[in-house]
């Protein structure tokens, strides 16, 4: 009589199972990381928009000054003590305003506002003229995504005159 042979039934080994788990874990880790990157990009976009609004709002405030105030160091320094809007972005950004006569500069008046809200006058122009000035507004901040330094800037040419 022939003894019935043992059926050759094989399951997965522990090593195979562990490799399977590892692959699955890697896949999910990748997808979750992708999701996290999307969230960080959203945050970076919000920062960029806030920076853009910050610069535009400051430019609006400066262009609304009378020409005498715009060319007065103390007036601009006082104006810059207040953040241009209520966004929390102002608490992490360094703002620089540069004013010079246009088209031919004769020195540069430069102000810096720190994230804490302290305004310093870095330089004063020899003469800002009586007709046109060039006003640069720049804001710099450290990006949440990647910790990179980013800047946003705008330039306006403002003339002496009043609203009509």
């Amino acid at each position: 009589m022939k003894k019935p042979s043992k059926l050759n039934v094989r399951g997965t080994t522990l090593a195979e199972t562990l490799v399977g788990f590892l692959l699955l874990a890697t896949f999910f880790a990748s997808v979750f990381e992708l999701n996290a990157v999307c969230l960080r990009y959203i945050d970076a976009t919000k920062e960029s928009v806030a920076a853009l609004q910050h610069v535009q709002d400051r430019a609006e405030m400066l262009r609304n000054l009378s020409f005498a105030d715009l060319t007065s160091t103390s007036s601009v320094q006082t104006l810059m003590a207040a953040a241009p809007n209520a966004a929390p972005f102002a608490q992490k950004a360094v703002e620089t305003v540069t004013i010079s006569a246009f088209p031919t500069p004769n020195g540069v008046t430069k102000f810096t506002r720190t994230a804490a809200g302290t305004v310093t006058t870095d330089s004063v122009a020899t003469d800002l003229g009586k007709g046109l000035v060039k006003v640069d507004v720049q804001v710099a901040w450290t990006m949440t995504l990647g910790g990179r330094l980013r800047t946003e800037q705008t330039t306006n040419i403002l003339s002496n005159g009043s609203k009509k």
Partner: protein
Amino acid sequence: MKLKTTTSRLAFTLAETMIALSASSVLLGATLTSSTALQKSFNAIDTYFATHMQQIRIVDYLSRDVKRGLVVTTSADLQTVTITVPNYIIQAGDPEAVANPDLVGTPRNPTMTYTPSGVQVNYGAANSTVVYSINGVSILRTENGNVTTIASSTDQLVPQTTDVELANTEYAKTSITFQPIFTSGGTTAERTGTTVYSTAYLRNKRRG
């Protein structure tokens, strides 16, 4: 007669089956939960970004109208803004267009009048009225009765504008918020975190 022997076939024991069932349930549960969470998260990101873009569009529209306006008035609840805008462009039916139809769509030449406070620039006697308002989930811009939907979102977009009068001018401060899809009990902080701020000054002297 010899009885036939049963074939020795191996099967899973109850314990093995139960363990396998538990492990696969955990795995399947984790997979389903993860994929659902990820889909929700991606959907929320997509919606958040789309609504954020709408916030920027509202700011653009409103700032443009405020800058070219003569007077800005906001309602008590800060959610309706009325702006009086000069008719800078000659339109069909205007006296200039009746006299010369080719002038439709061209800039109107302003006239200057001398007032005790100085020269005043005028663009015709008639002005346009632009109204920004909320209607359900939409933000509407109505110019002389013509309605344009400038933003629409189920995320409860709420623009709030304050007009501040100065000596000869006026400015409008606007903040726009929305309620993101993901909330924890709808607390205020989550809406506050979506705020976009904007400030726009009149380019004209305020009249009114």
